[in-house]
């Protein structure tokens, strides 16, 4: 658990220093891990010692000074935050999601998680289901299938509380008595309506609400985009129900693939005008309507998938080892798909 006294320092450093996440995390390692000290002791030190003992450069020094100036203000905010039942988990707390840390590394793991609800959920095995705000019924049904399976396997469903797939993922997980993490595109203290709507599930421990942003920050497109890596990071496996050719889902998947993550994309049926196939061609792993990886069950897939039979059959190896080949094959298909789309 993060000691309460440390929270105002952590908040000031994270949101007032104007430093990059990587710089903040590196400083936290130095203070808390290498020096086995506290933020309180660090901030009481003089700029000289910051420079000397923590080898901060000028920009970092300015950042720490700015954070120090905000400390009393940060205390007022922290008091209000804790009073309202929100909790703060720092990167160095044992409560911090290990999955998130492993996926995002020091470079981009958020220094603070603001949460309300059952924190134990962060330790559970997890999947994320992502997709468009205006997804088709088919995609929503897929989402329901995946959420059901996850819930039955005691896996947490991570989603982003947007319309469409996100909302379906959350509601389905709860319908099947599963656990869910809502990753907010805003500060956690600005989420009244959602807190009221999911009140029972929160107090019964089925839902954890989580935000990585300044607690009072209102919703914005920028934050909505900024939240995607956190959704991906919190999940061991990622399922894409439906993606457009641009926008949050698309860029999120591309980002994830770029980091070498396995991303499962629903294999579209003929005539669907989404970008699912394009993503598969870019290297995502196709799955069937129930989330089964197509490569591994060639026979069944071929029956179900009709037209894609040949391509699916031609997948030879499990996803992780076949990334290179798959990408090549995928590319061909994407081109074809794009052409089709152009014609439409």
């Amino acid at each position: 658990m993060t000691e309460k006294k440390e929270i105002p320092y952590l908040i000031a450093l994270t949101h007032s220093s104007q430093l990059r996440i990587e710089q903040i995390n590196a400083l936290l390692v130095k203070i808390l891990h290498e020096k086995q000290s506290t933020l309180e002791a660090f901030f009481q030190g003089a700029p000289d010692s910051w420079k000397k003992d923590f080898s901060l450069d000028e920009k970092e020094l300015d950042g720490v000074k700015a954070a120090k100036g905000e400390l009393p203000n940060s205390s007022f905010l922290t008091e209000d935050l804790l009073e309202q039942g929100y909790e703060v988990i720092s990167l160095y707390s044992t409560e911090y999601s290990k999955t998130l840390k492993e996926n995002l590394k020091m470079k981009s793991s958020p220094p603070i998680l603001y949460v309300k609800g059952n924190k134990q959920i962060l330790r559970e095995d997890s999947i994320a289901i992502v997709g468009s705000r205006d997804a088709s019924d088919k995609s929503l049904q897929f989402t329901d299938n995946i959420a059901k399976r996850a819930s039955q396997q005691y896996k947490v469903v991570v989603s982003g509380f947007a319309k469409g797939v996100d909302k379906q993922a959350l509601d389905s997980a709860l319908k099947y008595k599963g656990h869910s993490i809502i990753v907010l595109p805003q500060g956690i203290m600005t989420f009244d309506s959602g807190m009221n709507k999911y009140y029972t599930q929160i107090i019964e421990g089925d839902v954890l609400v989580l935000s990585t942003f300044f607690p009072k920050a209102p919703w914005s497109v920028q934050l909505a985009m900024g939240r995607n890596p956190v959704i991906y990071g919190l999940a061991k496996n990622i399922y894409v129900a439906e993606s457009g050719h641009e926008g949050g889902t698309w860029s999120g998947v591309m980002n994830g693939l770029g980091k070498g993550r396995t991303i499962y994309v629903r294999m579209p049926e003929p005539g669907e005008s989404n970008a699912n196939l394009a993503l598969i061609e870019k290297g995502a792993t196709p799955v069937d309507f129930n989330g089964e990886v197509l490569e591994r069950e060639v026979g069944r897939v071929s029956e179900q998938m009709g037209e894609y039979k040949i391509e699916a059959k031609s997948v030879e190896k499990p996803a992780k080892q076949s990334k290179g080949k798959k990408r090549k094959r995928g590319k061909k298909k994407a081109e074809k798909d794009d052409t089709q789309l152009d014609l439409v």
């Binding site: 309460k4 006294k5 929270i7 105002p8 320092y9 309180e40 901030f43 009481q44 400390l71 009393p72 203000n73 205390s75 007022f76 905010l77 922290t78 008091e79 209000d80 804790l82 009073e83 309202q84 039942g85 309300k116 609800g117 059952n118 009244d192 807190m195 009221n196 009140y199 029972t200 929160i202 107090i203 019964e204 421990g205 009072k216």
Partner: protein, 673 residues
């Protein structure tokens, strides 16, 4: 800055030559960014210990103070000295408060006084984000401790804040009254490194007296005979709201100028009385302990308690407001052995039963609710709900959250079970405090020393001025003359029913008596619930007397009565007798059009109002239009029924609606000061 330099600045800024030693010690620590607790008697000059540093810091000093009157006084004085200070409080409108916050954000203020409750206000918390804060002050810091005499839940958040403030940020807590136990509790809560400074608590100009009496009547007679012999003006503290009214009317009856004050009055009336007190407008203000803390009048010459306070610390705090100018000041405590039942009732009734706590918990498990919703869902009084939710927040069972502009309460995930052991421990401590208070009454030792010892100032010696030290005792003889005066007053004393409002043509009404304090209650109960037949004639006589005294000059066209819920024709028959006695015609057409439950099953006014809303009708309207109407009922409690009928009759065109009842309940008064 050394003391010399500081005292030069003190002279320039405040006009004083030097600091007292404890003042300078406190200021020195404060300027170094340390946490301090300062315990000094009223009038010592505690506020200078933060006002001076505030002028030396670059940024803003925030002073949490529960006392609006004190804030106003201090700000006036600071502004006269040219020091920019303001306060935000609930008595100023939003625009004014926002302008002040803006000024604070722009760095135009040195001191900002706010009530601790403000910490629950979203706009305030948002504003603190951009303030340049230099120091936090907690005034009346004994309110932090549940072991103190005036624990206030709002201070819990201030302590949470202090715990989170960065190291090296100065925090000063001040109080005039803290026992050793309270002192340790405050220090521990503020953080172990807090330095505590404790001064001498003796008030050498105090003339402490205890007056043992054999009846309430003796207290009244003593005041009648002797009050005017005490020089100057002062305060009489009674135990209940009802008694503020009774004692003040008694003094009025004797032509001794007085006014009554309690928390039931609206803010502007209270302020007016506070101002009147400062300007010696009356011989005395008769008040509950809602009056006092922070009234900065240097020459309050006497404080008389007609009711024993709950502890010595309450007593010291309440009398502490008197005689700040150092001139001789009289402090009288009346005591009758039955008096301890009131503080005992407070202690026993201080906390609702665990079942009631459970009711709130279950309601909040189903949905987040505001205070009114909880009252409606649980049928508990506002005070019960407030006590319960403060405890549940403290025990981390529920959270107070903001939902838009509203405050809501929500059950906490993995909330612990309710811990009632803590309540029992507190109850025992309060019983012990009360025992000590009664010991003071009977004690033969120096009273000032006893107070100081109790408050942890062990160094004090005999005061030489109290009744025990002087070997004198104050006694009363009630001669026939005075006995008759009291009886005459009582027979003419009728409680007022405050229902008048600008939205209806209701007048304030009158009751024949209080329900609980005379034979009237028993008589009503017999008739209503024990098949005792019609209300007895003496009730008719008292009610007629009340009518004549209160409405003697008014003309009425029609008598209506409140249709019964469960007591049959009692009220109808009673109204008929009044009708013939007064020669005003009676109508039986005021009807109940909705089934209602007896009002007494509802514990709060919200549910009582809901119960009777739309419950009455009268036809034809032509009977009412343009008429002046007297409405009769047996018992007046929350007033919800009368208000509902008043609304209906106003809509039907009545020009004047006057409530007249046999008795008014006092039930709520025990817990509402």
């Amino acid at each position: 800055m050394n003391r010399n330099e500081a005292e030069q600045k003190l002279k320039q800024l405040f006009g004083f030559d030097r600091f007292y030693d404890d003042q300078w010690k406190t200021i020195e620590h404060t300027l170094k960014g340390e946490r301090m607790l300062l315990i000094e008697r009223t009038g010592y000059g505690k506020s200078l210990c933060y006002q001076f540093p505030a002028t030396q810091f670059k940024g803003l000093t925030v002073v949490f103070s529960p006392l609006i009157a004190l804030m106003r006084d201090q700000i006036k004085k600071l502004n006269e000295l040219g020091i920019p200070a303001r306060c935000i409080n609930s008595e100023q409108d939003d625009t004014e408060n926002e302008a002040i916050i803006k000024g604070a954000n722009e760095g135009k203020l040195k001191l900002l006084y706010i009530a601790p409750e403000r910490q629950e206000n979203e706009k305030w918390i948002d504003a603190t984000r951009s303030m340049n804060l230099s120091m936090v002050v907690i005034d009346e810091a004994h309110c932090i401790s549940v072991w103190g005499h005036d624990f206030r839940p709002a201070f819990r958040r201030i302590i949470s804040l202090v715990k989170l403030l960065p190291a090296g940020f100065p925090v000063l807590a001040t109080t005039a009254t803290a026992t050793r136990r309270v002192e340790q509790d405050i220090v521990q809560q503020m953080g172990g490194s807090t330095v505590s400074i404790r001064g001498n608590l003796v008030r050498p100009n105090f003339r402490l007296r205890v007056v043992k009496v054999k009846s309430e009547e003796e207290k009244m007679v003593w005041l009648g005979k002797r009050l005017e012999q005490i020089p100057g003006t002062g305060i009489i503290y009674t135990g209940t709201r009802v008694n503020t009214e009774i004692y003040s009317r008694w003094l009025e009856y004797l032509k001794i100028s007085s006014v009554n004050y309690n928390a039931g009055l609206d803010a502007s009336s209270r302020k007016e009385i506070e101002d009147g007190l400062l300007n010696d407008r009356w011989k005395c203000v008769v008040a509950t302990n809602a009056l006092g803390m922070g009234i900065d009048k240097p020459d309050i010459r006497f404080i008389i308690h007609t009711q024993i306070p709950a502890s010595l610390i309450h007593y010291y705090q309440e009398i502490g407001r008197a005689g700040r100018d150092g001139q001789p000041t009289y402090l009288l405590l009346f005591y009758h052995e039955d008096d301890k039942s009131l503080p005992e009732a407070f202690i026993d009734g201080g906390r609702p039963s665990p079942q009631k706590y459970q009711r709130v918990i279950e309601a909040l498990k189903a949905a987040p609710m505001g205070e009114r919703e909880i009252m409606k869902a649980t049928n508990l009084t506002r005070n019960q709900v407030r006590t319960i939710k403060a405890d549940l927040i403290e025990q981390k069972i529920i959270n107070e959250v903001k939902s838009g502009k509203l405050k809501k309460y929500e059950y906490r995930y993995r909330a612990p079970a309710l811990n009632t052991a803590a309540f029992e421990e507190l109850r025992k401590a309060k019983i012990a405090d009360l025992d000590k208070m009664i010991e003071y009454v009977h004690s033969k030792q120096c009273r000032m020393k006893m107070l100081c010892d109790y408050l942890g100032d062990l160094a004090s010696s005999k005061c030489g001025e109290c009744d025990n030290d002087l070997g004198k005792s104050v006694t009363i003889t009630v001669d026939k003359d005075w006995k008759e005066k009291v009886e005459a007053f009582r027979s003419e004393y009728f409680p007022m029913l405050e229902v008048a409002s600008s939205r209806t043509n209701l007048l304030n009404g009158v009751a024949g008596s209080y329900y609980g304090v005379s034979a009237v209650g028993a008589a009503i109960h017999r008739s209503k619930y024990e098949h005792g037949g019609d209300f007895p004639d003496f009730l008719l006589k008292t009610t007629l007397k009340a009518f004549r005294k209160f409405f003697g000059k008014e003309k009425f066209d029609l008598i209506l009565y409140v249709p019964p819920t469960e007591s049959g024709d009692l009220v109808k028959n009673f109204a008929a007798k009044l009708s013939s006695a007064l020669g005003v015609s009676i109508s039986h057409k005021l009807k109940k059009v909705k089934a209602t439950k007896p009002q007494k099953v509802f514990q709060n006014s919200l549910l009582k109002s809901d119960n009777v809303a739309g419950a009455f009708d009268y036809r034809p309207a032509s009977d009412i239009n343009g008429k002046s109407i007297l409405v009769i009922d047996d018992i007046f409690d929350s007033g919800a029924t009368m208000k509902e009928i008043g609304k209906l009759l106003t809509e039907l065109g009545a020009t004047k609606i006057a409530p007249l009842v046999i008795a008014k309940t006092v039930g709520g008064d025990v817990t509402r000061l």
